[in-house]
Amino acid sequence: MRNYDLVVIGAGPAGMAAATTAASQGLNVALIDEQRQAGGQIYRNIGTPVLSDERVLGPDYYYGRELARKFSEANVDYLSNATVWEVSDSHLCLSIDGESRRIGFTRVLIATGAQERPVPFPGWTTPGVMTCGAAQIMLKTSGLAPNGPLVIAGSGPLLLLVACQLSRAGIEIAALLDTTPKHNYRAALKHLPGALRGWRYLLKGTRLIAELRRKGVKPLNGVSQLNAVTDEDGNLTGVCFRHNGTEQTVACSSLLVHQGVVPNVQLTRSLGAEHSWDELQQCWRPTLDTFGETSVPNVYVAGDNAGIGGALVAELQGQLTATRIAMQAGQLNAEAFAHMSRALQTQIEQQLAIRPFLDQLYTPAPEFLRPADETVVCRCEEVTAGEIRNLAKTGCAGPNQAKAFCRAGMGPCQGRLCGLTVSQLMAEASDRPVPEVGYYNVRSPIKPVTLAEVAGVHPASESLQADS
């Protein structure tokens, strides 16, 4: 088994920055990522950009080139196409091309980023309904864009960005349905003074909206009761919703939905690290010290899986945590560390000033957090919101009991697309706060892996492999 001073999981801005920093401090570092190329979600495919017109994705995307270049020059063992399916506090198991092996470490930094928040609404399992993030990934990795009547529905900065990027690419948007609840605007105002420190982000947001309007895309605000409409063959034909008190339908063959992003906590949860409920972001995040260490010694977190902060914060956090690790590993003295960390922390604080405003403004409407009874919440096992509510009302103690009783969360996605919703529904039905209700126990493997691969990580078979 190979051993490293530090293994970083995830090659987004946080992971790349962390690995680069730690290597520059003389640590023996490996970085593992399940994508083909380093970049993470924001800088997907940045090594070989696809679109010939760089204006479509804009400068924030190409900023990643420099980060990826520095990373590629760093003295780091980079394993791509490698999915980590188990982590302990001293080793991990990863799968590459159907073969698994173990890697040992003194410290591990989990930088697995965010996933889009599940957006359950009636009809969201229909082919043709995808997330905004998915559309952006296709833009970045294939130069593909939805063609034919397109509706974008939901809320959040990424939704606006993707709408803009698509319209820059010449894609027509039949309707942009903004589901941000009207009262969010008022509630967010109290965070405006703080947000002004993050004026650059505010400006970016208003520019995106202005750009969309110039292109003739006028968002419909205060949309609710989203519903995908299909023909008798199950093909997507449109989207039905309420706006200004009336029910409307817009025809479409592609429907992109989005309700913000949430931390990917699978690995930290599987390690048994402490997590807390973030009421403003309506998601779980690992409990961390100032420098990103979790409640499990030698396990660290940086980037959007620490709580949503965006790409620049992720990069800074990656540097900060790596600096901390270098100090703990004895590669950096306390004074140098104090100096470096102070500067990074100040920058992080500035970058985060906008968050309370954004989080308040883009809190999803209740219908997406706790959908109507007939809505499928567990896509894999096809369990509806109504079934979960019923279980909660008949004495089911929490999400793990519910999972055992109705199989929600037992399919291949391992609860990634229903976990948040199930906790919310149980909390509502039993009239308890979400943190009291809790979350699924997440266990190894955190990605499905063949039994042959699991068998293959046995020390006996590993030494056999080494011998042969």
């Binding site: 188990e86 302990s88 080793h91 198991c93 173990r102 009302k393 008949t394 004495g395 089911c396 103690a397 929490g398 999400p399 793990n400 009991q401 055992a404 009783f405 109705c406 199989r407 037992m410 399919g411 291949p412 391992q414 039993s430 209700v437 809790g438 126990n441 266990r443 190894s444 493997p445 499905p448 892996v449 063949t450 039994l451 042959a452 699991v454 068998a455 293959g456 990580v457 046995h458 020390p459 078979s461």
Partner: protein, 374 residues
């Protein structure tokens, strides 16, 4: 709405402490005897073997050093079909009971031979009434064509079967609450005030008063038993279980290590009789289980593992149950075992009758299961 009681004071004829398979089975039996029952349990996350087990209704090999236990296991297996029917009738939940017989697969000739000797001795102890057969590789392959080429053979017994343990739990909870059982999930019982004929059980803000109390708290019994003048020397023994994705149905028989559920998922691990799995790291144990599963059924090699867990067996020093009424505080009963699925039908039947009436059917030989034996 909920059958779950609100904080405060509750009265019942019997309080069952522990809402796992043992507690719920006993509670069901007591309800059938017309008693008003409260079950006190912990919340969503607790040590709960009932949520992590293998789902076998298993007889062969159980009680090799205790004929009374062998008899009890077999009795329960014969009561199981009625028990399952009762659940389906009341709740509409089919717990997927299948009792077509079970296979205990042996990888080596030596293992198979040892197993044969053990089962023959058990048959002798039961005066020849103990059906099983020893299958060599070819005989096994005739029953299960998917068996691996290196497997030595198996023992087969028509007494064995399996259920879906999760649906079982769900059905038992539903039946209990539908019958106006009070399910109180306020957390661990921390104190039992014992007076002859009157017990006051404290759980969080809840106080439950009853004339009888049943300790069915699994590992929790260890702490609780002394409060009612009993002893429950139970200790944990970890078992790990792997669940692989749904695949087309190929395996009818439950085996001690691998079974296919009604949904098509593949459960791999150890039934309680097997080699202890409490050594080594999780990765090693998982790898060992996966390796053995593939050796037994090579077609599983490319099937994906979706979930795994470890669950704690509730083990007495000799592995056999404890059934005992307190002499110091009559009305307090202790029920604990390490095969709560298999014994569920017995717990809901004769064991519950014993608790309801205070008199045990002599053929159960319950005195064999007193904790005084330790």
């Amino acid at each position: 709405m909920s059958a779950a009681a609100k904080p405060g004071s509750v009265k019942a004829e019997v309080t069952v402490i522990g809402g796992g398979l043992v507690g719920l089975a006993v509670a069901r039996g007591l309800q059938d005897q017309g008693l008003n029952v409260a079950v006190v349990d912990e919340g969503d996350i607790a040590l709960r073997a009932s949520r992590g087990n293998f789902g076998l209704v298993w007889v062969q090999g159980k009680g090799d050093t205790c004929p009374e236990y062998a008899r009890l296991s077999r009795l329960s297996a014969t009561l199981w079909q009625d028990f399952a029917n009762g659940l389906a009738e009341h709740t509409g939940i089919d717990v997927q009971l299948s009792q077509i017989g079970g296979l205990y697969i042996c990888l080596t000739e030596q293992e198979l031979e040892q197993r044969r000797i053990m089962l023959e001795a058990m048959r002798d102890a039961q005066q020849g009434d103990y059906p099983f057969e020893v299958l060599d590789h070819d005989a096994l392959k005739a029953k299960v064509p998917e068996i691996g080429p290196t497997v030595a053979g198996a023992t087969h017994s028509p007494m064995d079967g399996h259920v879906n343990p999760l649906l079982l739990m769900r059905a038992m909870v539903q039946r209990f609450t539908d019958r106006n059982g009070q399910l109180i999930t306020t957390g661990p019982v921390t104190k039992i005030e014992s007076n002859p004929g009157r017990f006051v059980v404290h759980s969080g803000d809840q106080v439950i008063e009853s004339s009888r109390v049943v300790l069915a708290a699994g590992l929790g019994n260890r702490e609780l038993a002394p409060q009612v003048g009993l002893s429950a020397p139970v200790s944990p023994n970890r078992g790990q279980v792997l669940i692989a994705e749904r695949v087309k149905h190929f395996l009818d028989y439950p085996t001690g290590h691998v079974r296919q559920t009604g949904e098509g998922t593949i459960q791999c691990g150890d039934s309680k009789e097997d080699v202890g799995l409490d050594t080594g790291t999780t990765t090693d144990v998982m790898a060992t289980i996966a390796h053995r599963a593939i050796t037994m059924f090579p077609l599983l090699a490319k099937v994906r593992l979706i979930r795994s867990w470890g669950a704690l067996r509730v083990m007495t020093p000799d592995g056999y149950p404890i059934y005992q009424q307190s002499e110091q505080y009559p009305g307090a009963f202790l029920v604990t075992c390490h095969s709560g699925v298999t014994l569920a039908a017995a717990h809901a039947g004769p064991i519950a009758e014993w608790i309801a009436s205070g008199v045990a059917d002599p053929s159960l030989s319950l005195e064999t299961f007193h904790a005084d034996r330790f």
